[in-house]
Subunit: 467 residues, 2 copies
C-alpha cells in the first residue's frame, strides 16, 4: 500500500452506501415508496429513489403493478433517469416507455454516452425507436444510425464512440495539457490510444502509466503494444470470452484497415456475460427467454413450442412401448417398472449433456479431444450402469419375486446408462458443428434417445427372456 | 472522439493480435507445439506459447495428456508463468503443480499482485500450499496468511492489497508528484482513494479526473463520495451482483470501522461471474461441478449421488403405477400412453423451474411477489394444459379408438400441467427460504411431484371411468 504522512485535521466524512443495502429490495422500502405515491408526495419519493441507483428503481417499478405502476411512472417522469429504462425487463419497459412518451425519452438519451444511448434505443419497440431517432439532435441521430447498422450482438453495437486518441509524437506533458483543455472527453476512460495520422491504432497507455510518468517523456517511448484489437463485427459472446480470458478492462474496436473506431469497456462486457449465462440456463431448461414479467398469454405461447416438440418425442417413446402391448398384457409388472430405466437414462444423459454444453461454450470440448471424452463417458456410463444394475435389479427381483425380471432390469440399466453418456456428449457435439445452438436442441434429442433405448432394452429383453 | 492535429511522420506499426485468434486452440497450433516438444526445441516452443497468454497455454496443457503433458510441463518450467497455473482445471493443476515443484511455484508467486498470489495459493492442494508458504519471503507469507484467514469466497479473499491512498489535504499536483516518485505502486489502478489519518475512507477519484484537473486544485474539492463500499466478509457472489448492478470498475473493501483494507477490481469479478454461472448450470443439470478433466472413477462417483437420489423418486413413481396393476392388466393401452403425461409434466415444470431459479438468483422473485407469480403460473399451466389436452386427447382417442380414453388423457394433462407450473415455482421458492440451494435440489423434487401427479391422474381417472 502506498504510504503518506498523516495529518491531524480530519476531513468531513461522507457516508457511503453499504454494499448489503444494494441486494434486492426490502419490503419496507417498497411500502414506503407506495405510501409516498399514495400521498402524492414527490419529494419523499425522490428521496427514497435517489440512493437506489437505476437498477434499484427498475426493480421497484417491476414489483409494482397495475395502477400503482402507472402512478409511479407518472411521478418518475418528473426526474427521469434514462438508465432506469435500460435496466427494466423488456415487457415492463415497453409499457413504461409508451407512458413516458417520445419527448421525455429523446431528451434523456441525448445526455447518455453513445454506447448507453444505442443500448437504450435498441431496447425500444420499432415504432418508438423511429420516433425517438427523429426527436434527438442530428449528430447523435447519425451516430445512432451508424450503430444500428452494425449486426445485432456485434462489437459495433457494444462499443462506445467517445474515446481519447493522441498522436505518437506527443509528450506526456502535451497529453496532460490536452486532457485539461479538452471539454468533450468521455465521462470515464481507462486507456489512452495512440494512433497514426490515418487514425490507425499503433499503441495504448493505461492512465496509471501516464500519471506516473514525467512530462518530457515521449508517448512513443511510453506506449505499450496493443495486445488485442476487437473487429467491428465480432459477436458479443466472443468479445466477452476474449475480455475474460485476457483480463481486459477496455479494448479498442477497429475496422478492417485497423482504424480505431471505438472502445469497449468491461462494464458492458459484464452485462453481456450475465446475459449469455442466463441465455444458456434458459435454453437448457427449454425456455426461450426469461419470461418472468411476460403476460400469461405470451408466456404460455412462448413455452408451447418446446413442449410441442417434446410431445413428439414422448409419442415416439409411446410407440416403442406399443410394440410390446402383448408382452405387457402377460407381465404387467413390466409396465410398473419400465419408467425407472427411462428416468435414470434421462438423468444420467442430462448430467453429461450439461458438462458438454458448458465445455463447448468454453471452447474446451472440440472435435480434437472428442474421441477421448467419448471413451471416458462410455466408461463412466459402464461404472454407474453396473452399480445401478445391481441396485435396481435387486429392487425389481424383490418387487416381482422373479430373478429373471431382476436380470432383465439390470441388463437394460447398463445398456441405457452407456447410451445416455454417449448421447449426452455426441448430440451437443454434433449440433455444435451445425448452425444450431447445442444448448437449445440437445435436451429434446437426448431424452428421445434415452427414452427409446430404455423402453426398447427393458421391454425387448423382457419379451425375449420372459415369454 | 477527441481530435488532434495530424502529422505526416508515421510511427512504427505494432502488429496486434486479432481477437479471433484467441478463440480456442486450432488443431494446427496443437500440432506445431507437439512437434516442437518431440524435437526438444525449447526456442520454438517458447515462440509458439508467447502470444497465447496464460489461458491459452493452460488450454494447451489440458488438451495434451499422458507423456506429452509431462514433457510439456518439463519444458515449460524453464519459462514458467504462474498465471497459467491459475487458469488450469483443478485436476490438471494438481498434477502440473506436483511436477513443477515447490521452489519454482514459490518464486513465481512472489512476482504476482497479492490477489493473484492468493488466488493461486488457494488452488493448490493443502500440502503444496504449506510448502509454498514456507518458501516465499516473510512479508508476502504474512499477507497471504491474512488473506487465507478470511472466509472462503469472501471479498477479503478476492481483494488486492496494493492500492493508492492519499490524504484529503493534498492537491492534484502533490498526488501526481507522489505517483511519479513512489516505486511500490500496484501494476494497474483505476481510482485513487482519499483517507483520513486513521485510514478511514472518505472519498475517491477516478484517474481520468486527476488527469483532467490542474495541479493547484485541492483533492478535497475534487474527490467524489464513495458510492459503494464492500465489507470484508461479503460473499463473492454478492460482490459480483453489486459490481454488475452499479457498473463498477473497482470498489474499496473496508473493515467494520470503515478503514480501507483493499480494492476489488472488475477483472476478478468477471471470473466470479463466470464461475457462479457455471455453478448454476451444473447444479440444474445434476452435476456437482465441471468434471470434464476428472478421471473416470471420480466422475462416476460424483455423479452417482444425484442419480441415486433420482432412483428413489423413480421408484416412488413406480409405486404409484403399482397401485393400478389391475387396471393396466385390463386396459393395456393405458401403460402405453402413461409416459406422455409424465414427460409433458416434467418438461413444463422444468421450464417454470428454470425461470424461477434464475429469478431467485437475480433477486427478482421473492416472497413479496410470490403470490402474483404463482397465480400466473397456474394460468400458464391452464393455457398450455388445455391446448395439449385437445392435442393429446385426440391422439389417444385415435390410437385407442376409445373417446373415453381420449377424455381421461385430456383431463390428466390439464391437471398435470397446472401442478407442474405450481410446483416449478413453489419448490425453488420454498428451498430458497431454507439453507438449501434451489438450483441443486429443485429438479429432483419437481420430477417426483410431476411423475406422481401425472401417473395418479391418468391411471386414477382411467380406473374410475373406464372400469
Amino acid at each position: 500500500m502506498a504510504e503518506f504522512a498523516t495529518d491531524p485535521e480530519t476531513a468531513p466524512a461522507v457516508q457511503p452506501v453499504q454494499a448489503e443495502d444494494l441486494l434486492g429490495l426490502d419490503a419496507e422500502l417498497v411500502r414506503s415508496a407506495v405510501a409516498a405515491l399514495d400521498a402524492g408526495d414527490d419529494d419523499a419519493l425522490r428521496e427514497i429513489l435517489a440512493p437506489m441507483g437505476p437498477a434499484g428503481v427498475a426493480d421497484l417499478i417491476e414489483i409494482l403493478h397495475g395502477a400503482q405502476r402507472t402512478l409511479m411512472v407518472e411521478h418518475f417522469a418528473g426526474f427521469f433517469d434514462p438508465l432506469v429504462l435500460a435496466e427494466l425487463d423488456e415487457t415492463v419497459r415497453e409499457e413504461v416507455a409508451a407512458q413516458l412518451g417520445t419527448a421525455v425519452i429523446a431528451r434523456a438519451i441525448a445526455a447518455l454516452d453513445s454506447d448507453d444511448a444505442l443500448a437504450l434505443i435498441l431496447t425500444l419497440g420499432e415504432d418508438m425507436q423511429r420516433r425517438v431517432l427523429h426527436a434527438v439532435p442530428e449528430a447523435l441521430r447519425n451516430m445512432l444510425e451508424e450503430g444500428l447498422a452494425f449486426p445485432e450482438d456485434s462489437a459495433g453495437r457494444l462499443m462506445q464512440r467517445e474515446l481519447v486518441a493522441v498522436p505518437s509524437f506527443w509528450t506526456v506533458g502535451e497529453v496532460i495539457d490536452f486532457l485539461r483543455e479538452s471539454d468533450d472527453l468521455p465521462d470515464d476512460f481507462y486507456d489512452i490510444f495512440v494512433v497514426d495520422p490515418r487514425h490507425r491504432l499503433i499503441g495504448m497507455i493505461a492512465l496509471s502509466r501516464v500519471l506516473r510518468t514525467r512530462r518530457p517523456v515521449a508517448i512513443l517511448d511510453l506506449m505499450a503494444p496493443v495486445l488485442v484489437t476487437i473487429p467491428l463485427e465480432m459477436d458479443q459472446e466472443e468479445v466477452a470470452y476474449v475480455f475474460s480470458r485476457q483480463d481486459l478492462v477496455s479494448a479498442p474496436v477497429v475496422d478492417a484497415s485497423n482504424r480505431l473506431i471505438g472502445v469497449i469497456t468491461v462494464d458492458d462486457v459484464v452485462d453481456v456475460i450475465h446475459e449469455e449465462a442466463a441465455e444458456d440456463i434458459m435454453r437448457l431448461g427449454g425456455v426461450r427467454e426469461d419470461d418472468l414479467y411476460h403476460a400469461v398469454l405470451n408466456t404460455g405461447r412462448s413455452r408451447f413450442g418446446w413442449l410441442f416438440f417434446n410431445l413428439l418425442t414422448a409419442i415416439a417413446a409411446s410407440i416403442v412401448i406399443g410394440f410390446f402391448e402383448g408382452t405387457i398384457e402377460q407381465i404387467v409388472i413390466l409396465a410398473v417398472l419400465m419408467p425407472i430405466a427411462a428416468s435414470m437414462g434421462g438423468n444420467a444423459g442430462t448430467q453429461t449433456l450439461t458438462v458438454a454444453v458448458r465445455a463447448i461454450a468454453m471452447k474446451e470440448l472440440t472435435v480434437a479431444n472428442a474421441a477421448r471424452m467419448l471413451s471416458k463417458e462410455v466408461l463412466v456410463g459402464l461404472f454407474n450402469g453396473v452399480l445401478f444394475a445391481v441396485i435396481v435389479g435387486g429392487v425389481a427381483w424383490l418387487w416381482s419375486g422373479s430373478p429373471a425380471i431382476g436380470g432383465v432390469m439390470a441388463a437394460a440399466m447398463v445398456i441405457t446408462m452407456i447410451v445416455a453418456g454417449l448421447a449426452g456428449l455426441a448430440i451437443p457435439l454434433g449440433l455444435s458443428q451445425t448452425r444450431f445452438d447445442p444448448a437449445v436442441a440437445s435436451g429434446v434429442f437426448l431424452t428421445t434417445v434415452t427414452d427409446v433405448v430404455a423402453f426398447l432394452a427393458f421391454l425387448g429383453l423382457g419379451a425375449w427372456f420372459l415369454l
